[in-house]
Amino acid sequence: MNAAQLLEGKRVCICVGAGGVGKTTTAASVAVGMAARGLKVAVVTIDPARRLANALGLERLENEPRLVSPKRLHGLEMRGELWAMMLDSKRTFDDLIERVAPTPARAEEIKRNGVYRELSSAVSGSQEFTAIEKLYELVSDDYDLLVLDTPPAHNAVEFLNAPGRLTAFLGGGALQVFLRPTGIGMRLLGMGAAPLLGALRLVTGVDLISDLTAFFTLLGGMTDEFSARAERVERLLHAPETAFVLVTSAESRPIDEAIWFRETLRENGMPFTGAIVNRMHPALSPGGVQRDLPPDLRAKLAASIAEYTVLAERDAAGLERLRASFTGEPILQVPELDGDIHDVQGLLAMRAELFDD
């Protein structure tokens, strides 16, 4: 099995996994490989290494993919087109507001609102939200395949949860109930609005409530649009042409996370396609030169091999655990590549491993 077979018939490939497992380079390599095979591919990267970005000709954060000149990937026959972008999260959020707002003036007002400014640059959730948003936008363009790298999160599942939280906030259901003192929420709680609002003030502060009220007044009828978009995005994420590809290393913690993520996808009915395991240490085949070397060098060589063997056995065990948690989905293995994977050579080396050539 190679990456092309893994993505057969797919239009969207979402690379998910724990931090530090080579997710961005993997996403880029998959995109390069599929483009080389003749597809028109766009890859959305998030916070790529400087030199990887340079390798793809991405000088700055942008909002639209740009065509990567085949000359940059020297030595590779490019039969299709590779487009790439570095996601500008704040810009994407602003664009969305501009698109959804009834008038430009309203959009400007929202963008000035303190709650919005915090929201669109917030610590958690906004990158995940805008990544999905960008994906949703690009899917209506004429790309054969979209490859999405996902933001570094403390865990892989965060990527699935964060956009929903933000959409819930923008959709505003729960909030608006609270902000309207006579709303249904109060009746449901079976208590007067006064003590509850009092409690809410006590917890949040008056000004925050008035800022939030202002924010939701500005959003006005737009909240329905946010909810509708969220539903369409959900459909896209569940579509059979969408592939969630798990990227991991074979170390124990990333494998733990990968198994957990696979479980979460299963529970949510998301289309899970397979895994790419990076940085594998394949088992050593026996050699026989040791006896020709001086004794102390022989001892050092043996120590070196012993340490490698620990890694090879760890990786084999990790791979086995991962396989046992799958229901037959393919696992592609990429060996630990010597040297740096964050440049054109690294990209091409990983591509060769992923596509068997």
Partner: protein, 315 residues
């Protein structure tokens, strides 16, 4: 000790009798009360946080390692003598906060209300603020949680660098957003604690590879440029591999380059050479603040191995 005394008096919350409870800590790194351990994903933040915790506990400091992933035990649990662990999640932190701050029917209604909970969880920055509030509470000598014993040191197994630096700003941002009211006051109090370099420090973890090292520099810059600037207290270079081969030996090995075992040895040598370059970059920038932990080559670190790393950190 002196600094601690001055600081606690400024905080104005600690009864006189408690001021001298703390045991002198030999490792300078562990002299703060709240340490954030951050770094690129996959560099071993959890390992380093626990190793630091063990090192502190061994000096007699009652220590807790708190992670913000909210996947482990949300209760404080002792995992080794003097060392506890907790997994802070926003939901439990909020319930605890409401329990303490909002009395009577309203408090109960808020705690049980799904609506309120989704409101709070969706409000920008609220999740982070709640987590920071819990960390702050853990670091108080006078715990607001009833009957809770104080910790001399709280070590935070923080999110990856970008988010790690951002989460430090959350209380300040939130205080500015909410302006007045109890939450603003609370956020201001937390922000002051975080801003105080005598109370709070940030430790970066990196592996000797280019990307994590780059991220360490970026983290240092981001912290220095923050509204409440911090300097990286230490940089811990994790999983460093020593170069065991001399150049003459490498030349000898190259004669047998076709042998799989020799290829492993040569790859190891090449890696050690690359790692040395990365170590130099960090050494040039951080000098004495750079600490090094070796790769222990075990499939999964247990407490015993963390003890070894703790020993290395305390040296």
């Amino acid at each position: 000790m002196r600094r601690g005394f001055l600081h606690l008096r400024l905080m104005g919350v600690v009864p006189a009798a408690r001021r001298y409870v703390r045991v002198a800590v030999s490792l300078p790194l562990l002299r703060r009360r709240l340490i954030f351990v951050t770094g690129k994903g996959g560099v071993g933040k959890t390992t380093v946080a626990l190793a630091l915790g063990l090192a502190a506990a061994r000096t007699g400091q009652r220590t807790i390692v708190a992670d913000l992933q909210g996947e482990g035990d949300p209760q404080e649990r002792e995992i080794a003598p003097g060392l506890s662990r907790i997994s802070v999640d926003p939901q439990s932190a909020m319930e605890e906060y409401l329990l303490l701050k909002v009395n009577g029917a309203a408090g109960l209604a808020l705690r049980q209300s799904k609506l309120f909970s989704s409101f709070a969880m969706a409000t920008p920055g609220m999740r982070e603020l709640l987590c920071m509030g819990k960390l702050w509470e853990l670091a108080q000598l006078e715990r607001r949680t009833r009957d809770a014993a104080p910790y001399g040191l709280v070590i935070v197994d923080a999110p990856a660098s970008g988010h790690g630096a951002a989460i430090l700003r959350t209380p300040r941002t939130f205080a500015e957003l909410a302006r007045v009211g109890p939450i603003a006051n609370q956020a201001q109090a937390i922000a002051r604690t975080i801003a105080d370099p005598a109370f709070t420090s940030v430790v970066a973890v990196s592996t000797p590879e280019e990307m994590p090292v780059n991220e360490t520099f970026e983290l240092g810059d981001a912290l220095a440029a923050a509204p409440d600037p911090h300097e990286l207290e230490a940089v811990i270079l994790n999983r460093r591999h020593a170069d065991r081969f001399t150049e003459i030996e490498v030349a000898a090995l190259k004669h047998h380059g076709g042998d799989p075992g020799v290829r492993v040895a040569l790859a190891e040598h090449a890696r050690a050479t690359r790692e040395l370059e990365q170590e130099r970059r960090l050494r040039d920038a951080f000098g004495e603040r750079l600490l090094i932990l070796p790769d222990l080559f075990v499939p999964r670190l247990e407490l015993a191995q963390l003890g070894l790393l703790a020993g290395d950190l305390a040296r």
